[in-house]
């Protein structure tokens, strides 16, 4: 699945996007964030406060309990500040 990062999540990770192949036990958005946080200092920094991270699956806002199976694109980002 393709992962997209925005704003300070993107900056801390140091990448706009990447292909992810999480292990089978990573079932939900919350699982994925926890798994990503183990992948290095930059990820640990990006996801040090997982409760503030927002997510979209295939461009639709979802909660941390959402199942990621079947999604082609997941985006992780801070709370939005448009308008």
């Amino acid at each position: 699945m393709k992962a997209l990062y925005f704003a300070w999540v993107r900056e801390r990770i140091g990448a706009n996007e990447e292909e992810l192949a999480p292990p089978a036990e990573v079932a939900t958005v919350g699982d994925l964030v926890a798994w990503l946080a183990t992948r290095g200092e930059n990820y640990a920094h990006a996801f040090e406060k997982p409760q503030v991270i927002r997510a979209a699956l295939d461009r639709v806002h979802v909660g941390r309990e959402a199942k990621i199976a079947g999604a082609r694109e997941i985006a992780l980002f801070p709370p939005m500040t448009g308008g």
Binding site: L4, F6, A7, W8, A56, R59, H61, A75, F77, P78, P79, M80, T81, G82, G83
Partner: protein, 152 residues
Amino acid sequence: MGAARVQREDFDAAAEGRALTKGRYDIGALASFIGLCRDEGGRLAALEIEHYPGMAEAEIARVIAAAETRWPLLGVTVIHRHGAIKPGEQIVYVGVAAAHRGEAFAAAEMLIDYLKTGAPFWKRARGRDGTVGDWVEAQASDTAQAARWTKP
């Protein structure tokens, strides 16, 4: 029915308003909102606005559809810019046409409240002193405003 646009270029709010009402005789009310970039007492050189291409347009279109379900609207246009925006420049436009003012104002407020909290845009300030500031933090007050409309 409504139009959702996400673009780097500036927009002509007057032309957007005219387009909503031109040739129509059933519109009694046009409520408009323009969000502008403030200079924060001279400290701000520009706002940098990042967005999620594709999702930003889709989310705005979705909330326009929600507004159209909730109120009898006769036309809606929402434009949100991204990129670098200088003080005094326009950031966002919301125009809502309806038969009566109540629904035009309510829908315009709902749309701008939602853009602040639910559309995938992120702002960062660039200072006049050359510094790149922190990303703007979400305001609890904005989240509370958006919650007035329950799930849009």
